[in-house]
Structures are given as C-alpha cells and as structure tokens.
Amino acid sequence: MGPMTTQATTGDAEARLQEHFDATIGRDQRIEPRDWMPDGYRRTLIRQIAQHAHSEIIGMQPEGQWITRAPSLRRKAILLAKVQDEAGHGLYLYSAAETLGADRAELTEMLIDGRQKYSSIFNYPTLTFADVGVIGWLVDGAAICNQVPLCRSSYGPYARAMIRICKEESFHQRQGYELLLTMMRGTDAQREMVQDAVNRWWWPSLMMFGPPDDASPNSARSMAWKIKRHSNDELRQRFVDMTVPQAEKLGVTLPDPELRWNDERGHYDFGAPDWDELRRVISGDGPCNAERIARRRAAHEEGAWVREAAAAYAAKRAAGRRAAA
C-alpha cells in the first residue's frame, strides 16, 4: 500500500467516526468519555467546563469573606455549607474536564496565570451581609437558569455533574431569598441594605448570561453540538420573567426604568446591561479581579506542603506494603 492509499483509508475512517458522532448527537444521545469526538467539540467542552469549575472555586471568595462575620450561628452554619458546596461543584466539574484528557493541576495553573477565565460576576465586592442574600437569590438564580438546560448537555459527564449541582443550587437560592425576607421584616436600615445590594447586583447578574446573541460567535456551534440548549438572550429573558414577581413579593425595586410587562410578547421588557462594563471586567479590569486571583494563588501555594505531605505519606505506606508482601 502506498502512502496515498493509507491516507485515503484514514480519511474514510475519520468520516465514518464523524458520521457516528453526528448520528449520536442527532438521536439526542450522550457522548461518553472514550467515544471518538471532533477536536473542536473536545476543546470547546474543556474550555467551558474548566471556566465553569474555576467560577465555582473563585465563587467561594465573595461570600466566604462573610463567614466569620455572619450575624448568627444559624447563618454561619448555612453559609459554611454553601461555600463548601461551591468547592464541591468545582471538583465535580474538574473531574468532568479530566474525562476529556485535561489535567486538573494544569487547569489550576491556567486559572492562576490568567490563561483561563471565570465568571465575571465574582469580580464584584460583597459590601454588606445583604450581599450574601442577594447573591443567593440573583446570582445563584441566574446560575440555575443557565445550568438546568446543561443537565441535558450532550456530553455525559458534564450533564451528570450539572444534575448534582442543580440539586444543590436550589438550597443556595432559597437560603438567600429567606435571608432577604428576614431582613425586609427588620428595620428601615436593613431594608435599605437589601435595596442597595439589589441595585449593585442586578445588572452584573444579567451579564452572567454572556453577550447578546448577535455578539456571541461560538453560540451557534455549541448549540449544534447540543452542549448548549438555549441562547444567551433566551436564558436572560427567562431569568427576568422569573425574578420580577420574586422582587415584588420581597418589596424591592429592580433598578431598571425600562422594566415593564409586555402583554403582546408575554414577557417583561428590560433595558440593556452595560456591555462595555462586561468586556472590561472579563478582560481583567473589574473591581476585584486582582484580589480574587491573588487569593487563589496564595491558597494554592500555602497548601503545597499539605499536598507534598500526603504524597510522601502515600509513598511510605505503599513501600511498607511492598516490604510486607
């Protein structure tokens, strides 16, 4: 066989694999780790899952800062459990990324040196305890809108991780809303704190769904691969429609003068977030970007001795077992 024939055979084989992959996606079945998949599919997934994992890990910081200052033991226990969940979500997702051939240590490096990103929302500061409630209500609420459709994502390990995560996010959102209800039943000063936190987090929460559809070039491909199931604007609309009645019940005003019910569309109309701000925050120029990464780096470096000790202990035990055998 000459080189030409070999190449033609390889091409045929690849076309057959691609056909099988497309048919699996077409039948709405899941792709599993050792299936053949196009390089672009693998790369897109690793990037999206890693970015998602990084968001969970960095997401521990804004609320974690309030653990020692929680107003009661009850709130402290809840907040601890919530922040521990975020760590867990990060780990489920790093595991899912590893099934695609990514290496967790390398992903951590890429987060710390800025080669990979995390959600822009975590670059805003948490100024009062009301922020803890608003993050649970709005930020986790937006995350749920984004994540529920990902439970049907075409990549099996990602979809399964999202199912676990969504179950736990529901606790996150409800504890936040309950915290805010409690504050709204308190003093005028407490009600003002809640309104102030809503004013600061509303627009960044809307930005969590990403740029508008006409400025989101990779969306169409991700939707064809069924990694994504709905467009950014669709999910943003869904979030607004869900949230307005919750805000009314709570007694807060969402800071958007254009927000009103549109009978014809059957949806709420709302104003456009400041997309320049989103671009700035994503490219590193948000209020807390440097602080978040510095904290993550310090935690990683200060934990090095623990990892080394665990590895040394495991090696010693393994040597002991070999000697005994």
Partner: protein, 95 residues
C-alpha cells in the same frame, strides 16, 4: 505547585441498603484511604449513601463504549433469550 503524587479514583456509592453501588464520579487523592474520606466529603454531603467504594481509575478494565462494538455482537442475534419471543395464547393464565 501541582497535583503530583495524586491519582484519579472512581467513586461508587450505595444509596441505601438493598441497592447496588452506583458510579457517581471521580476525584483525586494520594492514596485509597484519602480517596475514601474525600469521596465522603464530596459525594455524600446530604445523606446520599450508606457505603462507598473507591477504585483507582487506572485499575479499571473496560470495553469500548461504542454501541456498534463487535464485543456485544453475541447478544444481538439471540432473541430467544427474551420472554416476548414465545407466543402463548391469551387465555393461558399466569404466564
């Protein structure tokens, strides 16, 4: 600076007595003991299990996941292994 010294483990959890252990995901750990405590913290924070197995991912021997794999061909053409292969008159009770 890395996870050097850790290995990937697959985690299986028995949800309650009477059920099989089911694969729930994976994690990294330095040794099996650590994998077990990490699995408890990561996969059973809400009473999801009464028993956990961990196994080094590298120790698993697996078929290829492809459903057209010839490995599964022997079961493809043996319809007589299924109860529906046998025609029984409707008026025969309890069968």
């Amino acid at each position: 600076m890395s996870d050097a010294g850790t290995e990937l483990y697959e985690v299986f959890v028995r949800g309650k007595r009477g059920l099989n252990h089911v694969h729930v995901g994976s994690l990294r750990a330095a040794d099996p003991r650590m994998a077990l405590t990490r699995a408890r913290d990561l996969y059973t924070r809400r009473n999801e299990g009464v028993s956990i197995w961990v196994v080094r991912s590298a120790d698993i021997t697996a078929s290829t996941p492809d459903e057209k794999d010839p490995f599964f061909a022997p079961s493809g053409d043996k319809v007589y292994r299924h109860p529906t292969f046998y025609a029984i008159p409707d008026d025969v009770p309890h069968i």
